[in-house]
């Protein structure tokens, strides 16, 4: 890349002694170029920060999406509970990620396992980490916790929730993101020293780091808690406990789709970065391509699910389509920046199949996950990691992860099996790490009777017993408001005039 650095000495010599004051002329010109160079630096910081901040805001809007998706997917009697967990994911996550999480994840210089600087944002901003980086990474961290809360919905004590959520956002997730995304991480593709298998793991926006971590944590939680009462009947047949509002599910899904445009294309973190200066093709094109692959993977997965479910269950089901869509997104997240658009279609198609199979398997094993979060984020996330190792395009890999020419790329694209090996290791390591940390935690909570609510509470719904009342009051007994103190009772219709919703 041509630079604007200017040597006044050289230029003075070129102008030569016949020029009246060559030194001053050269210094003058060089100072102009240096000013220009500084202004370009400023511009790049401003543009990239704008890009990163608005991407962070989009990713944050996914938390709203999760809240609405979860709320719509549970029964009305547990709506307040699940929404409170989602609000607190963001709020408690904000504090813990500020205090420890960001430091564990990106504190540099550090060893390959865990970061050890930047606690409480000390010494930030630096050359490479500005406040906007923190905000962006925080939005990612709370997404992981949000995934897990879906798996254990409708039957978990609120205190247990507070404990696991802090632990996940503050420690488990940051360590994983350190491994794969920090420049010091042992498996990071950005590692400047030595890359795992000469390649490192290409988990661009976190199919593994975010989705599998959240999904695996949910898997252990749901496994240890066991299914909700009534989810499997006495003869062992699966009974769908449908969520209370499909409108909220669709609202949440669309918001997640909207936010995913911050999640995937935003993961470049910089947009003013040329691949060859002065050309129309640069990182801005790669960002656009990432948005396109994301869209196509989700769309394909949605359509595949639509028709598969039509064949399997006989009706056109909107909540299944929404889950399929999200499965496609979770899968493309790892490879979104390094695959061709046509490959994204394959990714989405397989993701839908993976999700349906995982759900089948879960039913067989009597595993109950109200949001299908373990299947969706765990299963499709794992597929996404494999997919990337198969379809990563050489040119794109070298553009997105520059300065190491000849690095391995997708197996099916002729790039050999090294990337695949690295990615298999990623899956194993994530499964191992999350199982080794979250599994014992959930088990300890279980043994301490802190994990699952009582059967009576579960039947009555947590909103009534723990959260001060039901989430909805659609009918109004006007005369009730006259009666003192009837505040948090369960609303009982009167026998004489049975009311309805």
């Amino acid at each position: 890349m041509a630079s604007l650095s200017c040597s006044a000495d050289d230029l003075a010599q070129l102008l030569g002694p016949n020029t009246t004051n060559p030194t001053a002329a050269a210094a003058y010109l060089c100072s102009q170029f240096s000013t220009i160079s500084d202004k370009f630096t400023d511009t790049a910081y401003a543009v990239d920060s704008t890009y990163l901040l608005f991407s962070a805001y989009l990713v944050f809007s996914m938390q709203l999406g999760f809240a609405m998706l979860c709320a719509g997917s549970v029964r009305a009697k547990n709506t307040m509970n699940i929404m409170l967990t989602n609000v607190l994911d963001a709020a408690a996550g904000g504090l813990f990620y500020y205090l420890f999480g960001f430091a564990f994840a990106f504190g540099t210089p550090s060893n390959g396992f865990i970061g050890r600087h930047f606690f409480g944002l000390k010494d930030v901003p630096t050359q490479s980490y500005d406040y906007s980086s923190f905000l962006y990474q925080w939005a990612f961290a709370i997404a992981a916790a949000g995934i897990t809360s879906g798996s254990i919905a409708e039957r978990t004590q609120f205190v247990a929730y507070l404990i696991y959520s802090s632990f996940l956002t503050g420690f488990v997730y940051p360590v994983v993101s350190h491994w794969f995304w920090s420049t010091d991480g042992w498996a990071s593709a950005f590692n400047t020293d030595n890359l795992l298998f000469g390649s490192g793991v290409i988990d661009f926006a976190g199919s593994g780091v975010v989705h599998m971590v959240g999904g695996m944590a949910g898997l252990w939680g749901a496994l240890i808690e066991g299914p909700r009462i009534g989810r499997f009947d006495h003869s062992g047949r699966s009974v769908a406990l449908r969520g209370h509002s499909a409108s909220l599910v669709v609202l949440g899904t669309f918001l997640l789709w909207f936010g995913w445009y911050g999640f995937n294309p935003g993961s470049f973190t910089k947009i003013l970065h040329h691949y060859s200066s002065g050309s129309y093709y640069g990182q801005w094109s790669a960002v656009g391509r990432t948005a396109v692959t994301t869209t196509l993977a989700g769309s394909t997965a949605a359509l595949t699910t639509l028709f598969s479910k039509r064949i399997l269950s006989g009706h056109w089901n909107v909540t299944d389509v929404c889950n399929g869509l999200l499965g496609g997104f979770a899968a493309i997240t790892a490879g979104c920046s390094v695959v061709e658009p046509w490959a994204a279609i394959i990714c989405g198609f397989v993701a839908a199949v993976v999700l349906i199979s995982c759900n089948r398997l879960a039913e067989k094993l009597k595993f109950d996950d109200p949001l299908e979060a373990a299947q969706l984020h765990g299963g499709c996330g794992a597929w996404g990691i494999i997919f990337t190792a198969l379809f990563a395009n050489e040119k794109y890999v070298n553009e997105v992860y520059p300065d190491k020419p000849g690095r391995p790329y997708g197996l099916f694209m002729g790039g050999g099996g090294k990337l695949l090996a690295a990615h298999v290791i990623q899956i194993l390591v994530i499964v191992g790490w999350v199982s080794a940390t979250m599994g014992p935690l959930f088990y300890a909570l279980h043994k301490l009777k802190l994990l699952r609510i009582s059967a009576e509470d579960e039947m009555a719904g947590m909103d009534m017993t723990r959260h001060g009342g039901f989430a909805y009051i659609y009918h109004d007994d006007n005369d009730d408001s006259q009666k003192p103190g009837i505040q948090l009772r369960k609303i009982e219709p009167r026998a004489t005039t049975p009311t309805s919703v």
Copy 2:
């Protein structure tokens, strides 16, 4: 515009033979300027791509707005159906627009009628079309399909929906957008060869291309299907079938408003474009002005509707205000970038009147459109096209559509009638083309008994019969969950234990 191109020969001559090495000095300086020029190119691409991508995300959020607006405007028993169509608009639209749509619309070089390159994004990115352009145009395409789905809501078979939606997004809409927006389009104001009436059609963000196309398609669909059961009683009087949730309507309307800031100002596609370099007035001001005209038109239409409806019907109606607001937006869309803010107020006022009149007319003709989509997007869209031809400001027209000085502008602004003639032709051509393509399609579906659902299904609601159950379950029969297999039954309250919300 001053450029940074630098001739080393010229500069060497200026420095002259007395300079020690004039050639090298000149080459050195010129290479610096060339580097600078390249960096400006990079910056412009990055800034414009950022602008376009985030605008595209905003436009995408309109799909969520449509979904919520439609969901709230239909009866509860058809909520799942209409939301599924909105999700699939986006998903199926993503695939079809990727495979054909974008190619038909913007594939260049091509003839004036239809594009023929870029199938499956082959050869993209080019100098003029990057991935972000595709994403932006896709978000527009699915909006057109979303409009139509509102017109035929609550009574259309799902299969019919899949067929017309693919056809509209994949062929009908792309061809129209080619005519008016592609540089090759026969009526495009960007056409570099010869402009229709020396002017071309100024449909900046698509009052005609998007809204009228969607509205006209909906008109034919709703006309061929006939009104919903119960919409007009035996004596022929109109009976309002109110939607099930005003909250969703307001949510959807606000989201559409939010997204319209991507739709209208975003249609500039570039923001780093000066009108005279170094001045505070440039395309960024025009972008801001467009956002202001959009806001004012919608606001005026909302207030006009509020007071008109108060006089006509006696109450302050929020859903009518929402529709009025959207009518104002649909109307200003064509001229948003080329009119003064005060003209936008006129635009909004008339749009509200047009919408009320169209609704009156529809009732007279026993035309039933659950979302008023044909009236709103068709009627107000047509008014918007006329409005632009009357009020387009000379200065703004020449800034937004540069390099052709002396082009016609608004009739009332002294610009002559040529623009009006071109715009009347636009209306006729859009009506003709959509009628000639979508009319026969709907008619064929009708004849094949694929269009309308059976009367029984319509009475029961499509959610129960086709989509696996009702969208909402606000009450919980706890004991039910114990009974096996009661999964998708209609929930019946029992006389013995009346349950409540």
Copy 3:
């Protein structure tokens, strides 16, 4: 900061007479630098406009947040009413702010009390005010009106609402924003002539200008109207009148959080502004820091509220947590750009305590504010103003309000008490001004019987009596559809045919 201005004369002399054509060579080089300088100007305008416009869109999305929060917090029978007021805040606000408001607030040159240019955006754009500034300020203005509408919800005549809303958005709020934000304002920290106490008021994004104004206006409205029927029983005990949908409350809260990233960081209005050119630390870092302080203050307030309410009321309450969160945001708004992240945690903690205390006090005084808007925006807003005067950091104050070195800063940071005095004056002045304008207005409306609805209407709900029907119809009586004219009746369950959801 080094500039790119270039003197051809100087450069010609440096090149000297031995150069063949020194004048031409110098002119050539200088024209290149001038072109470059112009291009940087263009770039800065484009980047800053992009930043400001998207921030404005985010702030606009807060209106949607308000609408949903208000809708969920009132009883179902008044949903249409409150949502209509929120839609009209935006729409009527758009017109009035265009016609007068912006002129009163920012019309320059003017006196310290009120602006007097830019009516109907005449003479805009100027060097300092572009259309995008108007759009951004409009989004702020409607937020203030939105706050007030919450305080007087469920019992106010719609006409009264229209009157106060226009008056507040068109006059009261613009005058306050002129005082504290315009370069001419008598208490503005941007005032170029003489600063109040050598400091001016540092109300960066409007804890006082927006939140206290809205809150105090609401206080007077709610005080004059008195509590809702049934809010305090005969023995004077407080009876909760719970909102009808916690899902809408959470949706609204998250949208407000999302929008607050436009409100606070967006208030810089420019992002491409280096503090020292060529460094990684510039206004973009300050913008990011502002987003971080905002996040931390809200998060801390949410957690504090969660545990306080658990102790006080015995359950984990999601709507209280949402209110606490918003209280934290309202408080940090004044100082968000000039405090350290750790100070934001203190800010949020105290804000939660302030809100709880204010609510206690309100209960004691039998003051009824359905949204807690007076307590939240008034109380926490006032705390935010004090907080800023205590914790504003010297370095940040001088970066954000440059050009006046040695200005006072936070008392606890060693900056002396002048800032605190200025901020106490701000609180007094805002309370005085809003009381002197909105108090008499509400009182006059009250005396004219235009303020409060009749007791019968209040019991029946305004939707039924004024807005054409109930907001929700979750059950469908299919046979009803056949009967003509049964349109806006209250839905009564019938004993004979038990209906379902």
